[in-house]
Amino acid sequence: MMHVSFGLAARKGAAVLLSATLLLMLCLVPAQANPAADGGTRIAAEQTAPVQVAAAEQATAPAAQTATATPDVEPVSTDNHPWWFWPVTLLFFCFVLGIIAVMAGVGGGVLFVPLVSGFFPFHLDFVRGAGLLVALAGALAAGPGLLRRNFANLRLALPVALIASACSIVGALLGLALPTNIVQTCLGVTILAISVLLLMSKNSVRPEVKMQDAVGMALGMNGVFLEPSTGEVVDWKTHRTLIGLLLFIIIGIMAGMFGLGAGWANVPVLNLLMGVPLKVSVGTSKFLLSITDTSAAWVYLNQGCVIPLMAVPSIVGLMLGSVVGVRLLAVAKPKFIRYMVICVLLFSGGKALLKGLGIG
């Protein structure tokens, strides 16, 4: 009886959370669509920007000179919100996002980038920078525990991380060099593809690997872990290792280009393709984000794509939300949340696509 009422309460809580998120998104839509919040600001600022940019670019050449330079920012905007409005809204938005992400079994980054770029007035460059930091912070918080319990395997992670992190730098450079509308369009397509992937993929708890391949054997990609729920000791090894490693090239590029994190792709490749047990795949994937996202995050940080005023509330909100989400997870049935998240991803992916194409 107690269990039933807990489950009911959790479902009610989840429904309230989702309603709150949708309400928040609906409240933010007019702000985004309203020229006062976005277009007006952009147009007004762009009219003044060229002269300032040209002047400032000369000034930014030697870093030492900029240390004493006064910013050329002019308050040309019709956004009448006080300065704290967007950071505080972002904090609450990310708190709810963190709860939903944990319950749906997805990383924060994959929800953060399409939703925040779709419904908040920040440029995509800053959203991607913050998205990487959000994913990085989550991975750093979870990484030590996963490593101690042997759910994240260093031997499995090392070669994969090297490929993914090198390629995420390429992705980050590519994403920052391409025009925003192209990146936004590609982001929309990617998010739509991820939602289909989440809908279709059925992870295997313990994939059957009859024989380890030569690459996996040479890299020592095998191990043993204790399944705490049954007390069983599980031996595992990889197959199709080379194809898996090659796929991490694409995963790395996409992670760096869109600032999404890459848990959505890491887990299916490790689990379904390479035959790593689900728990080790999830644990190693989360740990991998601390490496893959670090290299891309450095590129974004060095290019000035991190605005602390928006990045810090995003990190804090998502981490606090994740803590609450983990507690709710014990009593909730996350299947409904998962389908809701897929719907939200389809919606935000569609919005990003239309925005990129100049329709939305």
Binding site: P144, L158, A177, V224, N302
Partner: protein, 154 residues
Amino acid sequence: MRALKKDTSMSTPTKDIRQDIKASPAQLRYADTLFYGSLVGFVALLATYALYVTGLLEPQIPLEQMHTVWTHSAAEYRALGHIPQGWGWLALLNKGDICNFVGIVILAGMTIICFAQLALSLARRKEWLMFWIATAEVVVLLLAASGVLVAGAH
């Protein structure tokens, strides 16, 4: 019962199952360094953010004007706010917004420190293939952190 054998690798199965299910010493060291480093990074991030939003440290770009710059691309933002590229921000550490990068850099730098520590541990154990992979990872991360890699502005 299987004979006890000292675990000499990161997690390669040995003859002793009790050793195998435990994380290796190298993995535990990595976890500890990551945990304490990240903790320091998070505390630094929150402390500097508090200094920033409470106005105790004057920011490079005034808080009231942030909404006029964050709608622009990163290249325009740097130019409008005189935010330097790469490690140039170190010269502006007394600014409220810029000092937040200290915490971010600690968080982003932890993986480099952990991998350098891991590479040394692997070298001591003469696990040369893994040593070279870990060393290559350190090089990749240092390259990303150096600020040498710059994308063309769009």
